[in-house]
């Protein structure tokens, strides 16, 4: 079943067009990867889906509902949650307070405890650092916090913008494993990644974005084997 659908979406920053007529879908239960070079428009796509940017053309449908005009803070309530690029945690709040902020839009207080347990199971480190300030956490810990915080709203769709950014190789593998685990628990994931190899390996389907347009799409496996993608993104020619 289609969970998210972008239909002919264009986004402008002033007069600069960052996305041109983007269309794709994310089905329930999938992990979908969005790869592309720097400046291709990946973050723009994510921020458009979470509602931080407005599209100038096109339509976004989520769970059968047109959300094109919906404000970002309402999209959270409907089940879209984003761990932003560069983490975007609250530096002056403790880990626990950050996680607590993740529940801000929730209507069901009763589910909070369960989700906190889930987050602590996925990221035991967060539990150990419960009282540490977000801003003093290491980069990797902040990434966990950003993902954990996004999960605290119990989303249907989790948007991850470069979850592996700036992480050491061992930890990148861990993060992908955790993403898989999150997905197994029933959350649909749309992730942006520079780490094309691992992203494609871990994703059911993927899209390649080049200067604001989708140029390739297919299953993770198909794209991994596509020669032009190999050359451009996978570091083998």
């Amino acid at each position: 079943m289609t969970l998210l659908e972008l239909d002919g979406v264009s986004v402008h920053y002033g007069r600069i067009q960052a996305l041109r007529d983007i269309s794709f879908t994310v089905n329930e239960g999938e992990v979908v990867a969005l790869i592309g070079a720097n400046g291709a428009g990946k973050t723009t796509t994510m921020r458009t889906i979470s509602g931080l940017l407005n599209c100038s053309e096109g339509k976004i449908t989520f769970a059968g509902q047109d959300i094109t005009k919906m404000k970002a803070h309402i999209r959270v309530v409907h089940g879209i949650s984003q761990a932003p690029e560069g983490r975007g945690i609250f530096p002056g709040m403790t880990v626990m307070e950050n996680l607590d902020m993740g529940t801000f839009g929730r209507k069901d207080r009763s589910g909070v405890a369960k989700d906190l347990e889930r987050v602590f199971d996925l990221f035991p480190r967060l539990k150990e650092r419960e009282k540490q300030y977000g801003g003093t956490m290491s980069g990797g810990e902040q990434q966990m916090l950003a993902i954990g915080r996004a999960l605290m709203s119990n989303p249907k769709l989790l948007l991850l913008d470069e979850p592996s950014m700036g992480l050491a190789p061992q930890f990148i593998r861990q993060i992908f494993k955790i993403i898989k685990e999150i997905n197994n628990q029933g959350t649909t994931v749309l992730m942006v990644e520079q780490n094309a190899n691992q992203a494609l390996a871990g994703a059911h389907r993927a899209f390649v974005l080049e200067t604001g347009e989708i140029t390739h799409s297919g299953t993770g496996k198909q794209l991994l084997e596509d020669p032009s993608i190999k050359e451009a993104y996978l570091g083998v020619g």
């Binding site: 979470s50 509602g51 931080l52 404000k71 970002a72 803070h73 959270v76 949650s81 984003q82 932003p84 560069g86 975007g88 945690i89 609250f90 530096p91 002056g92 709040m93 403790t94 626990m96 607590d100 902020m101 529940t103 801000f104 839009g105 929730r106 207080r109 909070v112 405890a113 906190l116 347990e117 602590f120 996925l122 990221f123 035991p124 480190r125 539990k127 150990e128 419960e130 009282k131 300030y133 801003g135 003093t136 290491s138 980069g139 990797g140 810990e141 902040q142 966990m144 915080r149 709203s153 700036g166 992480l167 050491a168 061992q170 930890f171 593998r173 861990q174 993060i175 494993k177 955790i178």
Partner: protein
């Protein structure tokens, strides 16, 4: 590291290092603002304060409040502003500034909105009181005390009017627009005939009541009753603001201040809460303006310039943006210093300028750094979670879980 390991990330020093390097470069891009409590001098005060029992805290507060009320009567030597300035009037002026700082602190300190035109709200409040009570005003007259809520409502309206179009702007733009607004109000007071420019309004009203000798209790020359009235209002406003701060609204403000986009995608209606901060701040500024108009008894267009706005802002930053007690202290100090040291009063802008630079260098969070306990609202929920987790075998070694969690966390939050 094998893929079958449990999720126990970040084991290696190298990983941490790489991540930290990346983080450092992110910070250089200039977003993170670490609001950590100061560890020196006053920071310890806050620790000690938290260590006191609830009764001790209340006892201490009662003593402070009683002393504050008695201040103009005691007129302590050395501290007094006499002979240069009447001490009771000085006390009122300090209280007035403190109230302004409490209001501006909601805007600047909590929500992180740089408002350089706060004096405009103060002016609107003053004009409200003047135009509704002064015999020079041809309009409807109401008893003075009624002008206080009216002034609040009117300034709140102005706050929303200014906020709705401008709060979609960020940072620098907002500062410039508010700066402009401050000037617009002052200029309107000059050019609109009904506001009587420099001539102004004489004999602004005051609260009722006459002393035994038939003179009004709230006379212009007697600062004591005005001070008591203002102090009482400060206490009420501070309690209300404190409640807001610990509520969902407060958490939303802090989140906006820390990272507006992140707040929005957490489900915080950022625009709405920013307008609220603006409106509440405006109302408190207006209240202070109405008190000022009543005490001085005269309002014209002379007192509402940009430098006054900056002085208000200095009070908040000096005291510690985001800390209401700090704001009271900062406001009182900014008023007190030129009154006490009349010889240097002329140089007050220079002195506050230097003081601010020094504060920024040595104590960038202000005299009393902000550290809200943000979980107050969700605390019950979080306590449930932590105590629930405490029952699980894996968490036995975690001292923060279980019934003591709240106390531990509270302490941790201040540490």
């Amino acid at each position: 590291m094998s893929m079958t390991d449990g999720p126990t990330p970040m084991q290696t020093v190298a990983a941490e290092q790489a991540a930290e390097d990346r983080e450092a470069s992110l910070k250089a891009a200039g977003r993170s603002d670490h609001r950590q409590p100061g560890k020196r001098r006053f920071g310890n005060l806050s620790d000690r304060w938290q260590a006191l029992s609830r009764q001790q805290q209340w006892g201490f507060l009662v003593i402070v409040v009683v002393l504050a009320y008695l201040l103009p009567l005691i007129n302590p030597p050395i501290i007094t502003t006499e002979p240069g300035n009447n001490f009771a009037l000085a006390c009122f002026d300090m209280a007035r500034f403190a109230l302004i700082a409490v209001g501006l602190n909601v805007v600047v300190g909590y929500a992180g909105l740089l408002d350089l035109g706060y004096v405009a709200f103060f002016a609107v409040g003053s004009y409200c009181a003047a135009m509704l009570t002064s015999p020079d005003s041809p309009y409807l007259h109401i008893p003075y005390l009624w002008t206080l809520p009216v002034a609040m409502a009117v300034t709140m309206f102005f706050g929303v009017m200014l906020g709705v179009p401008t709060l979609r702007l960020r940072g620098d733009y907002l500062a410039i627009v508010t700066l402009g607004f401050g000037e617009i109000v002052r200029i309107l007071a000059t050019i609109i005939p009904a506001m009587k420019g420099q001539v102004g309004f004489q004999n602004v009203g005051h609260p009722p009541g006459t002393a035994v000798d038939g003179t009004p209790i709230f006379s212009n020359s007697n600062g004591v009753p005005w001070y008591w009235l203002t102090l009482t209002i400060i206490i009420i406003v501070t309690l209300l603001v404190g409640n807001l701060e610990r509520s969902r609204v407060g958490r939303a403000w802090i989140a906006i201040r820390e990272d507006e986009d992140a707040a929005e995608i957490m489900g915080v209606p950022t625009f709405k809460y920013k307008v609220w901060a603006f409106a509440i701040g405006a109302a408190i500024g207006g209240l202070s303006g109405a008190l000022f108009a009543g005490q001085v008894g005269f309002v014209n267009n002379q007192k509402f310039d940009v430098t006054t706005s900056i002085l208000f802002l200095a009070a908040v930053v000096l005291g510690g943006a985001g800390n209401k007690v700090g704001a009271i202290l900062g406001g009182a100090l900014v008023s007190y210093i030129p009154l006490r040291f009349t010889a240097i009063a002329e140089y007050k802008y220079l002195i506050f300028g230097v003081a601010l630079v020094l504060i920024m260098i040595f104590r960038s969070q202000g005299l009393l750094p902000a550290r809200q306990r943000l979980l107050a609202y969700g605390r019950t929920a979080m306590n449930q979670i932590t105590s629930r987790n405490g029952k699980e075998p894996t968490d036995k070694d975690n001292p923060s879980a279980g019934p003591g969690a709240r106390a531990v966390r509270q302490k941790g939050a201040e540490a």
